[in-house]
């Protein structure tokens, strides 16, 4: 039995309704408890800001495409090198670091749970192997269904139950967590050299539209009672004028779940562009934020970009090709049979580029204009907008108008003409930041029930203690301190153990992987469905019996079981 007591902590725990009380946190055997014995180890938090462990609800840190980003960017591997030190492995890389690099840097920032934004089902084994090498964070994997042929056939036949059955079989086969749609239909169209340009375009050769796919998947998701909603990367990412597609998508969303959103729109910054060409690109964050404010069944994340070098990687193959045509640098393009695809290119976001400046402004505008912080989460779509190590800087920008003005002064002077950011006064407070970095994620992902994102007795003992004293600090002027504080915790506690202290990693760590299994009635079990089996044997290069990921790949798997309403 190991016991730990955190004394005198300034706790903000939005899910438990605690908005800044000085209190003690008792931990026994990796769980939060009411009280511990007198022999417990004591940490004096000294009135420092103490939050539940951070949760990143959309990040690309593990899997084949991240790894491809690593080997196509040897120059990135030269940055961010740290030597072996105690239990710490050697790390390298800045925008696509080694798995241990990712894990240590997240841990230093107080993050204890990370969702991998896109896992191709066929390549799930590799993702799970990298999860085990990301030892300080509990991992979840969004599973790609955007170009899944069985799904598209079910959508064409208007058979929601069949779509639900395909999702249930695939998620449990590949140990995935939730449904991810990346440019639904578009990536598969790209397999034929084409793309879709709105949610009403027909996907060539399949006779479905992205809109139909999104609607069907939202309903299938609710039939399966999955913890998370559909996680959508809208069509037309990064195309000037794409805000209309985003608004059309938002119009489709029914309100089907009382506990959480019905649709999670990821990296919405990339989907809020007005104008018609790169020359007249403008911010439509106000329209998008208004639509989000009016629909409580939506949750979004920012997808903020930050200036500097990074690597973009997404399952949205056609978009990466368009970016390649702009940059003429390295480019990778990948097809996953019958399922999805991907593309990767390195980019440099520059303060001298008006387009990049407007993109930078849009991300912040979304976070500031969406009224309810539970609906808008902080993210950079790591590493697409910026590596996640930039989160502290984004927090400081959101908390300080002065910092934003100082940054604006360095940008292209026309930025204010194309984006409303200079007119926004709002400065977020500590509570709102706590919501945007952990509580809202726990709610949106539906994992607060298994003890994530809060500090009530029974919860997982994931705690981050930052060297910030909210009473003595005015974030609107002391933004440098805010940035430094969120960048390096005094203590990061993972499952009851201190894993990082003042930026040093002190334990090896052992994470768990959270996945979902929806129990379906026997007639919807596809492993016995002759048509599905036949298709598998006919088209896949892998035998159906070899397809599922063995339990061996998840040494510490945590299964969430749901009952499907089929």
């Amino acid at each position: 039995m190991s016991e730990l007591l955190v004394r005198n902590a300034y706790v903000i725990d939005p899910l438990s309704g605690i908005k800044g009380d000085i209190m003690d946190i008792a931990i026994r055997d990796g769980k939060i408890v009411e009280e511990v014995g007198r022999n417990a180890e004591v940490i004096d938090a000294d009135h420092c800001l103490t939050l539940p462990g951070g949760i990143d609800s959309h990040s690309h840190v593990c899997g084949t495409k991240v790894n491809f980003g690593r080997y196509m960017s040897p120059e990135d591997m030269r940055a961010g090198r740290t030597a072996r030190k105690g239990v710490m492995h050697v790390t390298s890389g800045y925008s696509v670091p080694t798995t241990f690099g990712n894990s240590y840097r997240y841990s230093t920032m107080g993050y204890t749970t990370v969702l991998e934004g896109a896992m191709a089902p066929l390549e799930a084994r590799h993702t799970h192997e990298e999860f085990t090498a990301t030892p300080h964070q509990d991992m979840l994997a969004n599973t790609l269904f955007d170009g899944n042929w069985s799904i598209m056939e079910a959508v064409r036949d208007r058979d929601v139950n069949r779509a639900a059955a395909v999702v249930a079989w695939t998620l449990s086969a590949v140990k995935g967590f939730a449904i991810k749609l990346t440019n639904p239909g578009g990536t598969e169209a790209w397999g034929f050299g084409e793309d879709v340009h709105s949610i009403r375009d027909q996907v060539p050769h399949f006779g479905v539209t992205p809109g139909e796919m999104i609607e069907t998947m939202i309903r299938a998701n609710e039939i399966l009672n999955l913890p998370h909603s559909v996680h959508l990367h809208c069509n037309c990412l990064g195309v000037p004028g794409n805000y209309q597609t985003t608004l059309d998508t938002i119009d489709l969303v029914p309100d089907l779940n009382a506990k959480r959103q019905s649709l999670y729109l990821t990296h919405l910054q990339f989907h809020s562009y007005g104008g018609s060409t790169w020359r007249d690109i403008s911010s439509k964050s106000e329209d998008i934020a208004r639509a989000v404010n009016n629909k409580s069944q939506l949750a979004i994340d920012m997808g903020q970009i930050m200036f500097g070098r990074t690597t973009t990687m997404t399952a949205d193959g056609p978009m990466e090709f368009k970016l390649y045509m702009l940059h003429h640098n390295k480019w990778s393009n990948h097809d996953v049979e019958l399922e999805t695809g991907s593309g990767i290119i390195p980019v440099y976001y520059s303060r001298k580029s008006l387009v990049n400046c407007v993109m930078w402004a849009i991300g912040l505008e979304l976070a500031l204009l969406v009224k309810d912080p539970w609906q808008c989460m902080l993210s950079t779509d790591n590493p697409n907008g910026a590596p996640f190590v930039k989160y502290p800087e984004i927090i400081a920008l959101l908390m300080s108008r002065r910092f934003r003005e100082r940054e604006m002064a360095l940008l292209d002077p026309r930025t204010g003409h194309y984006a409303p950011l200079p007119a926004i006064d709002r400065e977020l407070d500590w509570y709102e930041i706590a919501v945007m970095t952990r509580a809202a994620q726990a709610k949106a992902l539906g994992i607060s029930g298994i003890g994530k994102g809060h500090l009530a007795p029974g919860a997982e003992a994931d705690v981050a203690i930052y060297p910030l004293k909210p009473g003595l600090l005015d974030p609107s002027t002391d933004y440098q301190q805010v940035m430094a504080g969120f960048g390096k915790t005094r203590y990061t506690i993972k499952r009851g153990r201190v894993v990082a202290r003042d930026g040093d990693i002190i334990v090896e760590g052992a994470n768990s992987t959270i996945w979902t299994k929806a129990n379906v009635p026997p007639e919807y079990n596809l492993s016995a469905d002759p048509e599905f089996v036949k298709k598998f044997e006919q088209y896949y290069t892998v035998r159906m019996s070899n397809y599922p990921v063995q339990d061996l790949y998840l040494p510490r798997g945590v299964r969430i079981t749901t009952e499907a309403a089929l």
Binding site: M72, S73, P74, E75, D76, R78, N329
Partner: protein
């Protein structure tokens, strides 16, 4: 100030020494300088006999002389920003990485990656240079950005790969794929070379010997008379690399 570093006899003289700390600005402050021998950290005095002559108030006044078995010293002059390094013999790989100012004189031969991704300053090698002389490193799209590299002898393959600025002068012959991916700067080759300037997008390359296996993707632009070091030469002018919409200039002396 003149610092003479004479190598001490070593038990195994083939183990390379990572000597990125051997740069003039480090000797000014007389702080504890350490190098790696293989994977073992060593104090400078364990590897060298050190003799210091005269004072210095700025790194410009520091001259380092390396003598003895210097061929195993790697990364000498990395991030150097002032002063002078004289190598009495050969020098190992990565000499003058990222250097931004000052000068390096090598009396013997240089191994691979001489002056890689250099920003400024001057390197003169009186012997031959290895592969990737004045080149960029793996994955990096901009190699040497400024300064001068002069090699009196020959150089190996991939000379001035990703050259982006500055001037590279090779008095002897170059190896294969000389000036490949060049995007700026000047490359001057006194002798012969093989397959020059593939995928070049900018900059100028002058070849006074033969260009073997010339790539077909260069557009001929006639013959021009050019002056170089006081002499006038008839040069064949090529523009390219057309395969990459390049606007580089390749000049080859007409025989």
């Amino acid at each position: 100030m003149r610092v003479i570093l004479q190598t001490k006899p070593r038990k195994n003289p083939h183990i390379p020494i990572e000597a990125e700390a051997v740069i003039p600005q480090n000797f000014l402050r007389k702080n504890d300088i350490r190098v790696y021998e293989g994977n073992k950290e060593r104090k400078l005095e364990e590897i060298f006999y050190i003799t210091t002559e005269g004072p210095a108030v700025s790194p410009d006044q520091v001259e380092i002389v390396l003598a003895g078995e210097t061929g195993t010293l790697k990364r000498v002059g990395e991030y150097m920003n002032a002063g002078r390094i004289v190598v009495e013999g050969d020098i190992g790989m990565h000499c003058g990485n990222f250097m931004s100012a000052g000068e390096i004189i090598i009396r013997g031969n240089a191994d691979a990656w001489l002056g890689r991704e250099m920003r400024g300053g001057m390197i003169r090698c009186e012997g031959n240079a290895g592969h990737y002389c004045a080149a960029g490193y793996r994955g990096e799209k901009r190699g040497m950005r400024g300064g001068t590299v002069e090699v009196m002898g020959n150089s190996g393959d991939f000379t001035a790969e990703y050259l982006c600025g500055g001037e590279v002068r090779i008095h002897g012959d170059c190896g294969d794929l000389t000036g490949v991916e060049m995007r700026g700067g000047t490359l001057i080759i006194g002798g012969n070379c093989h397959r020059p300037c593939g995928n070049m997008t900018g900059g100028t390359c002058m070849i006074f010997g033969n260009a073997d296996a010339m790539l077909p993707t260069f557009r001929s632009n006639g013959i021009e008379e050019r002056e170089y070091e006081g002499q006038r030469f008839q040069m064949m002018v090529f523009r390219g690399d057309v395969a990459n919409r390049g606007k580089g200039t390749l000049l080859i002396r007409k025989k």
